[in-house]
Every structure is written in structure tokens, then in C-alpha cells.
Symmetry: C2
Subunit: 141 residues, 2 copies
Amino acid sequence: MKITSRFTVAVHTLLAIYVLGKEYKMTSDFIASSVNVNPVVIRRTLSSLKAAGIIDVKAGSGGAMPVKDTDDITLYDIYTAVDCVEGNLFNFHENPNPECPVGKNIHAVLDSRLADAQTALENELKSVTLTDLMKQLNILM
Amino acid sequence: MKITSRFTVAVHTLLAIYVLGKEYKMTSDFIASSVNVNPVVIRRTLSSLKAAGIIDVKAGSGGAMPVKDTDDITLYDIYTAVDCVEGNLFNFHENPNPECPVGKNIHAVLDSRLADAQTALENELKSVTLTDLMKQLNILM
DNA sequence: TATAGTTGTAATCATTTTGATTACAACTAT
DNA sequence: ATAGTTGTAATCAAAATGATTACAACTATA
């Protein structure tokens, strides 16, 4: 099982807004054609990013605009903004048998290890800012 | 989206086999009642673990038995044995628009960052052996 | 050797999640 | 007023998951 594409779609969306926003009006239609998904998907993404205080979106007249500085936006911020993973990354089987010594203690043994792995992933996401991505993108464009 | 419970089920299964295997015949029914899932789910898990060379399973007479030493089984080995994640952990939207400077370069900018995060997760899983879990379990039992 | 207890595996099913899509009210610049 | 948007609810199809049924193949042992 994989982490939903909402995450990479949101990163793509933000890069578009921050890189192309001065030149074009960033409507959901415009962004959707860059990402190649349905405009409604982008509107939902924009909603999440707006709720997280990363961008602002104008209803009616249209267009998304930067709010936070690119130095203050990490991949982790985007990851949490779009709710890729609610709580624990690892699914656990429900109701292990408490009559069994293994079933009774499986959570005690495993939970912290899995949490550590998830934290390692998230820390790595925290180490990358939108500035980092934009620097790299500007070289390629 | 989360990582399938096949993983934690497999860890649970192995702990049962290595801890209780001397005392009981570890049939799929027995393990299933500890994990609290359908026995067929356990048989599939056992198949994967057997294919990975971690355990042996006797068809007919029944029962799963250890093959590898607990020092040589990491959480990562189990994670790969049951194929929680095929290839990339992060889903990517298909066909970003190559006419757009962002769409054209989004993979170049993002792929390695996401790979780094996934590697951090997997390295953490590599650092935990079944021995570690069993030590902890023995204290609790 | 017949039997009882297993494993291995295919086939189905319901549930959940995802992303696509339609539809439309509400909003705003012009 | 209008045209172009956003916000959001409602549906839909597809994919993935785990549950379950079914049964052939296998093996210890009585």
C-alpha cells in the first residue's frame, strides 16, 4: 500500500503557485492542466493548503496566492496539510488474542519500533523546504 | 493511506513461531487464533515468509518451524517478505504535463527526496531484529 | 493403507479508499 | 448584470484489502 498521490499533487500545486504565480493567474483549471488531474481534485488540494495557512485562495475572482515563505514550508508541512496518513503509518490487525502471551504483548513490543520508523520518514520530510525544491527547479527550467 | 496489516500480522506470526514453537505445533489455525484473523490469511503469510527463507512449513502434517536465526531477521526482512510496499512508498500522479515547466520537471525535483524519506524508514526497520523483539517479549510474558 | 488433520491456492465477496466527474450555489472583478 | 471562479456535496468506477468458502494435495500415524 502506498501513500496517496494527494501529497505529490499538493507539492506540484505549490511549486506551480510559487514559481508561475507572478506570471499567470493560478486557477484550479490552470493547475489541473499542469498536474493532469481533474480541477476539482486541485480545488480540494487548495482547500487543504489554505486551511494549513500555506496559501490563500480567492473565491469568485479566482486564483491561489502564496502566504508562507518558501523557507518555512517543508515537505512535512505539505504531507500533514493533505492528511496522507492519519495517525499511524502502519496498519495493525485488530484485537489480537489477549489469552495468548504473544497476542497480549504484541503492541507493547512493536508500537514504539514502528513509531520510530515513521518518525524517521517524517524527519526526512521535515528536512526539505520548498526553497530547496525551487532552487533545483530553476536550474532545470 | 497506510501500510497493510500483512506486515504486523507477519511479525506477530514469527514471534509466535519462535517463542511458542517448541511448546506447540504452530498450525495456521493456532496462529490465526492468536492474531485473530482468518487461518487462510495466516497461510498466505506463512507462504511469503517461507519463500523468503525465514521459516519452513510442512504441508500435510502441518506446522511452521524456524529456519533463520533471530539475529538474522530484521523488521525490514519481514516487510519485504510480505510485500507491503511494491517499489515506491509514495504514489505519484500519472502523466504530469510536459508542456509545463513544473510538470516537466516535477519528477526530477521530487523523486530523490521521496526516496530518501523511504530509505530512512527502511533503515529504521533494518535496525530492529527479531532477537530485540523477543528479549522485550520475554520480560513481559 | 485408510484416515484425520493440514497446507496451498483459487475464487468470491464486502468494505474501504481513491480519484474522476457532475452539478450547482455562492462569490467577485469588470 | 455577467462571466469566470471557488467551495462542496453527491455519485461513480476502480483498486486494494482482508474474510471466507471450497477443495485438491500432502503426510503422520493408527
